[in-house]
Every structure is written in C-alpha cells, then in structure tokens.
Amino acid sequence: MSRRQMGYLFLIPTMTIFFAFAIYPVFRTIYLSFFEYRLQFGNLKKFIGLTNYMKMFSSERFYLSLRFTMLFTFLTVSIEVFLGLIFAQFMNKNYPGKSLLRVVVLIPWAIPTIVSGFIWRFMVDDIYGVVNGILLSLGIIKEFIPWLSQTGSATVVLLVADIWKTTPYVSLLVLAGLQNIPRSFLEAAEIDGANGLKTYLYITFPLLKPVLATATLFRLIQSFKVYAIVVALTNGGPANTTEPLTLFTLRTYFDAGNYGYGAALASFTFIITVVIALLFLNIILKKVDI
C-alpha cells in the first residue's frame, strides 16, 4: 500500500463521523426550514417555501431573543477581551507566584458551565444569596434584591457569570501572544526612549492583533450560542426576556414539537455564524494552511 492510499484510508473514520453528524445535519436543518413539519403530525412534511422565515421575522419573541443574544455576545466578548488584555499583562510578569496565577486561571475554564451557573445562582439568590448579604452590610442596598426576577439585574448576573468563567481563558490566549513577542523588540523600544505606554501601543498591541482576532472570532461564535449558563440561572426568564436564540430554538423543537419552524430558527443561527466567520476569513484561511 502506498503512503497516499494509507493517507486516504486513515481519514475514513473521521470523515464518516463528520459527514454523518455534522455536514449532513447542517443541510438537513436548512432543508427542513422550508417545510411545515410538526412532531404531532408524524412524518408529514409540506413544502411551504419561506413561510417559516416570514413567521420568524414577524415574531416578537424572536426579536426579543435576538436582541438579548446580540447584547450578551457584544458585551461579554468586548469586556472579556478588554480584561484579558489587562490580566495577561500581569500574568506575563516574572515574579514569584506567577505559576499560581496560571493554575487559578484554569479552574473556571475546566468546570462545567452548568456548575458555575448554579454557584452564581446560589450567590444571588433572593433569600440565601451572599451577594445581597455583602451589599447590605456595605450599605450599598437597603433590602435584598431579587436579582433574577428583573430583566436588567438578571442580565447583569448572566454577564458577570459568563465573564467570570471565560475571562481567565481569554487572558491565557493573550498571554500566549505576549510571550510570542521577541524580547529584543521591547528592549529596542526602551533603548530608543519609549515609555511603557508608548511601547505597549506601538509595539506590543499591534503584534498582539492576530491573537486577539483569533480569540475574538472564537468567543463571538461561542457567546452567540450561549445556553447552559442561562438554563442554570434564569431559564430565559423573567417573561422570556433573557431567552437566547439557542434556548428559543430548542423549545420550538422539543417543547412545541415544531421541527420546521425550529429549523428556520437554527438556520438563522447558522447564517449569523457564517457571517461572523466571513468577517474573519483571512484568519481562518491562514489557520488551514498546511
């Protein structure tokens, strides 16, 4: 057997799984989005063109969900990247204790989102919550706040919980970028008399751009599919105001049994993901160079 033949042979298991569980399902979802297809009516499918999409674009719940998802994505990613830049700067310092920092960073990353969601829910509980307790004893609030029963505060809690879990990981990615910058660049800048801020703005930051773009791409797409943290904390409430698209789609599929409409919602998420990916196309193409 030649090397090339073996190469193809070795790809078969991976490619089979990819086709069966990823590529075919994507096309199947897009296909079903053009059909009236409900679980209650068995396998009966009726082609209805773009009706599901028209229904989607005239649904208030869809816009509510889309607005929440976009707000959540924009705020989490921008805050995480901003904090990540600052944190990485500290993590890059060469003092005793730096390895402890790096270990601490791993723990929020490693635990299931559903667990961190429940811990935060416990901390902001309106009866047992320690956050209320601390704020009350500091005199910031006068009585316990029911954090999760108001849209505004519930959104804040969701953001904080996500930022808490993911910023450490983003910091680690930025740190990798920082360590990749040749020391001689920074030393040369210092010899030329540039101060810390100038060096950072004109040398460090531009060299970090590829890493930042990669982190942003991955985080945008991850954040847009937010699900578990919401299920643990608010379950979409109050009154569906914190219901991300993934949760709305899942409920349409499995609670309402509406496979056609659910497929249109899922296809919408797919389109958004493709748009985000296209915005970062040069990075993606660089990554697949071999």
């Binding site: 190469g7 070795f10 790809l11 399902p25 791993l106 299931p112 559903i114 901390m123 991955f218 578990a228």
Partner: protein, 273 residues
C-alpha cells in the same frame, strides 16, 4: 528590563484581587456544602460544625453515583475514539501527500465553530432511528465528533514536528507506512496525544446540551443530573453545592496534576496561525 518597586506591589495587589475574585465562588460552594441549612441562611462564612450530611443527601436524592458512572463511560469512550481516529487523520494530514488537505482542515475548523443548535435536531433523529437515545453509545458518538475537532486540530502540527528522517530510515529498512505509524510516530507523539486527550475529556464531561437532548431519561450525565436537584419551588442549596463539588473534583484533580501540559496546549492552540 528595570522593574520599579511600585510594579512589584501592583503585581501582588493584582494577584490578591484576581485570586479572591476567581476563588470566592469556589470557596462559597465548598463552605456551604458543609453547613446545615440554618447556617446557609445566616450567610456564615464558615460552618460552626462541619457536617457531611449534604454529601450523603446528594447521593440519596438523586443517583449521583450512576451519573458519575455514565459520564465516565461516555467521556472516556469519546476520548479514546477521538484520539484513535484523530491521530490517524492527523497523521494523514501531516505526513502523507493526499490531496485536499486545506479543504479537510477547513471542514474541521468549521465544525469546531458550528453552534450545536444548528445540527441538534437532525442528530436527534439519527440517534433515535438507530435506537440509541438514552444510551451511552449515542452520546459518545456525538462527543467524539466534537472531540475530533480538537484532536485533529492539535495533533496535526504535532505530527508535522516529528523529523521526517526517522520515518524514512524505517522505510529503507522495509517498514510499511502502517508499521512506521505504529512503531515510530505514535511513541514520539504520545505526550501530545495525552494532553489532547485531557482537553477532549473535559469537553465531553462538561457537555450539557447534547446530554440533555439525547439522554434525558436514562444514561444521564452529571451535568444533566445536577439540574434534577432543583424542584419547582425549592432548591436544596447545601445538597446541590455538595453534588456540584463531587462532579468538579475529578476535573480539578486532573487540571492541578497536569496544569503545565494543559496550559501549554491551550496557549499553543491560540497561537496556531
């Protein structure tokens, strides 16, 4: 470079702040898992008397042991499959002259970016028609898919870094490509495979969406199980915190033992351009 004294102080201020910020939720989780209900309500920092009753309850109220067993089977199965198939694919991409490598890598990257919700219903239908809903194997296959995106992605550059001469001298000695894969490449890349295995395992262990949709009744995993402690109007916080400590302990132990490798792996993953 010169390091002013203020820089040094700032660093330790930051460390304190950062560790408190990250550590507090975990501290709160653990301390409350050891308290009686009354002390949870009183927001005491430490239990006046450490009790293990919440841990007992965690195993009694729900079959937590079973959840742990299911998660172990599913995650280790997915890890083994993703490493086996993934190292084959990575070898093929890194060391052979097949056509369409860029396309294959593009597919792998795209799938790793693909939101699960896009594919979840067709996957549900496939698994249902295979009669694998509520089974270990069905969920394991799906976890293998996402595990493969990690393993192929990380292992391909790793395989590329093995010097070509090593294999060539084996060929001169008459070894087949398959033999050289098994006897030369695999032993060299074993440390890398090990690191990737940890990343795959953690991802599979932490999966919630597919576990919920595919295994809602039987073969439930720890993440799905955790949700069951909550009833309509009551959450036994002490018990829930105890259960959540139990399900993260294996992860934390692995992470602490193998931190250097994991950090290295994650940082390389971010840099790969």
């Amino acid at each position: 470079m010169r390091q002013p004294r203020s820089d040094f102080i700032l660093f330790y201020l930051f460390c304190t702040f950062f560790i408190l910020l990250i550590g507090f939720p975990f501290f709160w989780q653990i301390t409350n898992s050891l308290k009686i209900e009354k002390e949870i309500f009183e927001l005491r920092w430490m239990p006046s008397r450490i009790i293990l009753n919440n841990y007992k309850e965690a195993f009694i109220r729900q079959p937590l042991l079973k959840f742990l067993f299911n998660s172990s089977i599913i995650s280790s199965g997915a890890t083994v499959l993703a490493l086996l198939f993934g190292s084959m694919a990575a070898y093929s991409l890194a060391r052979t002259d097949i056509r369409g490598k860029r396309l294959i890598l593009l597919i792998i990257l795209s799938v790793s970016l693909l939101p699960p919700i896009v594919i979840i219903n067709p996957i549900y239908s496939i698994i249902r028609s295979l009669k694998l809903l509520n089974s270990h194997f069905g969920l394991m296959m799906v976890d293998t898919l996402f595990g493969l995106t990690i393993s192929v992605w990380f292992l391909t550059p790793y395989f590329q870094s093995v010097p070509m001469d090593l294999e060539e001298s084996a060929f001169i000695d008459g070894a087949s490509p398959f033999l050289s894969f098994r006897k030369i490449i695999i032993p060299i890349v074993t440390p890398g495979i090990f690191t990737v295995g940890i990343l795959v395992f953690i991802k599979a262990w932490n999966d919630f969406l597919f576990a919920l949709v595919l295994n809602p009744i039987r073969a439930r995993t720890v993440t799905v199980g955790l949700k069951l402690y909550e009833s309509d109007n009551y959450i036994p916080w002490g018990t829930l915190m105890a259960a959540s400590v139990v399900i993260v302990v294996p992860l934390i132990v692995v992470v602490l033992l193998l931190q250097k490798r994991i950090i290295g792996g994650l940082m390389e993953g971010g840099l790969k351009e």
